[in-house]
Symmetry: C2
Subunit: 346 residues, 2 copies
DNA sequence: GTCCTCCCCCAAAGCGCTTTGGGTCGTGCG
DNA sequence: CGCACGACCCAAAGCGCTTTGGGGGAGGAC
């Protein structure tokens, strides 16, 4: 069923039917109702491709996910984030298109997306420091919004970020208040902006107490369970092991917990752990008393909000860029306790 | 830069330029090269919307993810699966569009997808027993391929599945061989086909040894960490607790491990655990000796293969439906050992 | 009666591409 | 020489929609 058929059934012109369905003024209430009824009866939906060709709007938002040819990684946070964004899109009548592109030529990919015109805008994920994509997108005029920020750029652009620096600063202070002095940081890859900011927060808190960050206590890598395990195992085998771990992802934290268990230590008593918790739906860290003390911020909600932000931008392209900084809550769970050293020294 | 502009620059007709770029016969090698060079120089890409309107092919595949309004869940397996599929699409010049739809009216959603014509086919995930979507898609003539199967239907359709029954049968036999008699099954929701089949495999293995499945030992739910924890905690508190756990997802297994740890038991000695392992990229269960004994099958690879299957189907719609049954490997890790009861009884 | 407004409605152009159905050469063959 | 046939190329139609730019008719004001 297409417009032509529908309008001939109704004995009206395509113009009138189109206007009736799209809520234009120039059509009597009576015919509008008649058209709507017929559309529903025949289950008519305008063909997306034709519609977007005519209007110039694709009614779709792109998400570009880089494919690292060497090491195939799918961030589980991505799933929750996507789900949140997807809900917003679907409510607004938009579709979500995901392009998997070789990380090597992301630039080409964005140009191509623009030229092919299959989306109205894109969400940029996992910005690096001085991320070149932002300038590029500004250049080619493809609307976008960034999940995170890019330190070092002073271009204006729309973003939504968690206050990673403050969150990790608070988490570190919390551990310091408990008497911990050797605090390990199991971070994400620090070329990524969020990880960089988390380290800044960690270092600030230490510095404020007159402590220097021990480079031997900080790790950075792709935030897998295995990485968490290996880093923690190594640290716990040291001559002067940390009494607390600050971990960038709950996935990673699972590995840290495994290493602690294997070392025969008890979490929350012998060793404290604070994690960042993106509230992944399959890995909830909640309940009356959560398992892990955590800086908490919902990836799904971030997806919803950022999608909204981009859609608003498409509606009013001339509005100033929007920026949202979300604060992570510090949730006290059962994985933290007073530093054991301190108790001995009493 | 569009076709019109490009062809006027070249002093050729749009027809010729189009044919040159699309590899048609009717154009001399000289002009073809000239056209290709110009296209590259001006970074020309045909507009997707116009192209698909003209050809009738959207060059996109849809994935429909249901949104459960009450309980928002994002299966982390989905992320890996999607990533695999996305790679295949991108290599084939296809895009992936994800529609988040209210679970209540999935039927309407599929009809709408067909009518709007924004994709050439869809992947159906998480089929239930007698899943109505399959007949529906056959009816409306939207090409599709299913990740899993739907017990109870004898329609022909394309699918790719893991041999869940055999995998869980083998896993159960493995535990039985170790002397375990009380084996808990921490399953997914058994209205979903894969979970149903896993239970069948579990029951078959028990029956073959003359054992009846104890209903008190089997659980089913959304496969979260929390569910695994609660189920295992409850079971371990029983008067006659199981000596082994068979778990449907590694996420769930993390919760089971937590419960076992909290009960002061040692995994692989006091309690054995076998899990299904989808080889999630952030939760690898590998290394020389994996942590968990597992039935292993890659979600990402499934995505790649199923995508390929659907694309092939689009190319040759009249070919018979394709079906692939993958076998899961049984990987022996450190989470299993002889049943403790048996040792006592020596 | 005439003119002007509204109110509804429509024909046709246009979005950027593919594809049909010719055209125009030049060449080889009888 | 004339004809058939390839090899190249092109104009125009068409994909299904939106939108421009009217146009007819009813009603009100003069």
């Amino acid at each position: 069923m297409n417009l032509k058929q529908l309008s001939s059934i109704l004995g009206l012109s395509q113009t009138t039917v189109s206007r009736a369905l799209n809520g234009y003024k120039d059509v009597s209430e009576a015919t509008r109702l008649r058209v709507q009824a017929a559309a529903k009866a025949h289950d008519y939906r305008p063909n997306t491709r034709a519609k977007s060709l005519a209007t110039g709007r694709a009614m779709a938002i792109g998400h570009v996910v880089p494919r690292i040819s060497t090491h195939a990684m799918v961030n589980p946070i991505f799933a929750d984030f996507i789900a949140g964004a997807g809900e917003t899109y679907s409510d607004a009548g938009y579709e979500m298109v995901i392009s998997v592109v070789d990380a090597e030529d992301e630039v080409r990919a964005y140009r191509s997306i623009k030229a092919r015109g299959s989306v109205d805008g894109v969400i940029v994920s996992a910005p690096r420091m001085n991320d070149p994509r932002i300038a590029l997108l500004n250049d080619i005029g493809l609307p976008f919004a960034v999940h995170g920020r890019a330190s070092g750029l002073d271009l204006p652009y729309s973003w939504l970020d968690v206050n990673n620096r403050r969150a990790f600063r608070r988490a570190t202070e919390f551990l310091l208040d408990l008497g911990h002095r050797r605090i390990a940081l199991i971070n994400g890859i620090e070329a990524l902006d969020f990880a960089h900011r988390r380290r800044l927060g960690y270092e600030e808190a230490l510095r404020d107490r007159g402590l220097a960050a021990d480079p031997g206590l900080t790790f950075q890598d792709e935030m897998t369970e295995g990485y968490g395990f290996r880093a923690a195992r190594q640290l716990l085998g040291d001559a002067d092991p940390p009494t607390a771990f600050l971990v960038s992802s709950i996935i990673c934290t699972l590995g840290v917990r495994r290493a602690i268990d294997e070392a025969g230590l008890t979490i929350g008593r012998d060793v404290s752990v604070v994690t960042h918790d993106d509230q992944l739906s399959y890995l909830r860290n909640d309940g009356e008393v959560p398992v892990f003390t955590a800086t908490r911020s919902s990836a799904r909600e971030a997806g919803q909000r950022l999608a909204r932000m981009l859609l608003d931008r498409l509606d009013t392209p001339d509005a100033p860029v929007a920026q949202q900084l979300l604060e992570a809550e510090l949730i006290i769970g059962r994985s933290t306790g007073p530093a054991p050293d301190r108790m001995k020294s009493r």
